[in-house]
Symmetry: C2
Subunit: 345 residues, 2 copies
Amino acid sequence: MPVPTIEWEGGVDGRIRLIDQTLLPVEFKQIYCEDVESVWQAIRQLNVRGAPAIGCAAALGTVLGIQHSTAESFQDDLKKTTDYLATSRPTAVNLFWALDRMKRAAEADARRSLDELKEILLGEAKAIIEEDRAMCRRIGAHGATLIHDGATALTHCNAGGLATADYGTALACFFAAKEQGKTISVYADETRPLLQGSRLTAWELMQDGIDVTIICDSMAAQVMKEGRIDLVVVGADRIAANGDAANKIGTYGLAVLARHHGIPFYVAAPSSTFDLSLADGSAIPIEERPGDEITCGFGRRTAPLGVNTYNPAFDVTPAELIAAIITERGIIRPVNAANVAVMMG
Amino acid sequence: MPVPTIEWEGGVDGRIRLIDQTLLPVEFKQIYCEDVESVWQAIRQLNVRGAPAIGCAAALGTVLGIQHSTAESFQDDLKKTTDYLATSRPTAVNLFWALDRMKRAAEADARRSLDELKEILLGEAKAIIEEDRAMCRRIGAHGATLIHDGATALTHCNAGGLATADYGTALACFFAAKEQGKTISVYADETRPLLQGSRLTAWELMQDGIDVTIICDSMAAQVMKEGRIDLVVVGADRIAANGDAANKIGTYGLAVLARHHGIPFYVAAPSSTFDLSLADGSAIPIEERPGDEITCGFGRRTAPLGVNTYNPAFDVTPAELIAAIITERGIIRPVNAANVAVMMG
């Protein structure tokens, strides 16, 4: 990334700087968030997106919520802020995971002075980002072992540097493979409705000099049938205890197609994306977004006025369709509850 | 349809009127073609599209190519015109079928006077359109028997009134089911890159008062998994002797997904879409269209400059994934070379 996707500027009184991902690749613009509302909006409107990056944004947003607190208002402000940020998006569990970490950090040191508490929370948020950076590198190292020299991968949506604090989860596998001297090619699903694949993934891979070809989501089956794809790697927004994985809408269909064509289907995600409180994927909440993402997706109306739409933002891929989950701790393979428990225990 | 998708205005000296399908549903505009070049462009640029409608356009375009011929130039003009129109698009066999019919009509009556020959060719073109109308109705009648009251169908691209001279092939099944008093609902894949589903299919179904919901192509698997879909019906651009069927890109993947979810997958197409000279679908030529259909959908760039794209306009669904082919002659089921031969022989 030319600059980090999201970071904190200044001390406790500082602010968040993030790349506006809704404008890329046509425009590279940065956004500064100085209050909790603007962070909520940035998450909701997808200026910042991608499960790990949403976690980072929520952690830094929590600091904005308490930076002007008094000793009397601190606990109340912390609760209000974390409750509010938790309503920004429902599916990516990293959001709730980061908010929980921030609350626990404050509870663990509840007897400290106000100034110390504020420093502790800023420190915790920065630690989450630092850990995310290290996580990307380790996922990349593990994932690259699954990619042979000359391989062609297919990916969906954007699980790259823009979705994390460093160089991604799914895309980290490609970046790391290239760092190891392997020549790889990538097909990127454009990923309707918001085109994170053609706008963000293609941009990131081109910046790193990796050969990338954009296709429409509906072309993935044909590209597989033509024998062009050796493996599929995608990210995840929430993974249940049995390995069922929620990710951008279209992922589940891609997994079915990969199985049909005998192509291994991999999910790359950090431990913060696992939600072990859910036995399987059926309880993962699926965000439904406004229909105009479909009907006015290119800034221009492309459907009849008043038409019905259905716009689920995510789907859940059953564990049995996933060849392996690549985490920063290692590779879970085969994907089942026992192996998830061993790796995440 | 408010007006026929394509028709001839006037006598031998007349012209073609057609609905410009690139502007719908935002703008309803008609185009008049008075020479062969403009017909070629209208087919190439998808002002008129859909296999049966392309056949109609080619037949009428042939009349434009000979309407000013002299007795000396007639045969040469006819050959030049049909050769030229045959280069407009490669996949839909109805184009070549219609051009062959026009040539054969002229050959069969080669001793007639010039004026008679021109009238014969205009008559043949009008007959192709009339037969297409009747075909739509018969396909609808056969297809409706496969749709139960209360059913929800999924379709891809547009195989409706805009793709034919009457009310379609795949969509004819829905229109006919409704005429029989059945209540049906339809999910329409938006069908990237050119959005024939959200622009054209949704518009047609809404005009007829059929409940229609637009989804992105990548959502079809999820909609199937949620149990919303009872059957899939699509059109075709060319069907080989064994029943392998070429249709809009994304159809093949949809067939794989339907099979995975135990949902019957039907193809609706007239006999003019069968190419019995091809043993199977592997020899069907697949048109590759410009990458800017993907990167600049609807006038706005949504991908990095210079990115690679792959844009096949069609794919081939193997016969074994097709539960039945609905033709104007009856239903081919199961789909195999023997049953295709019986129905088309």
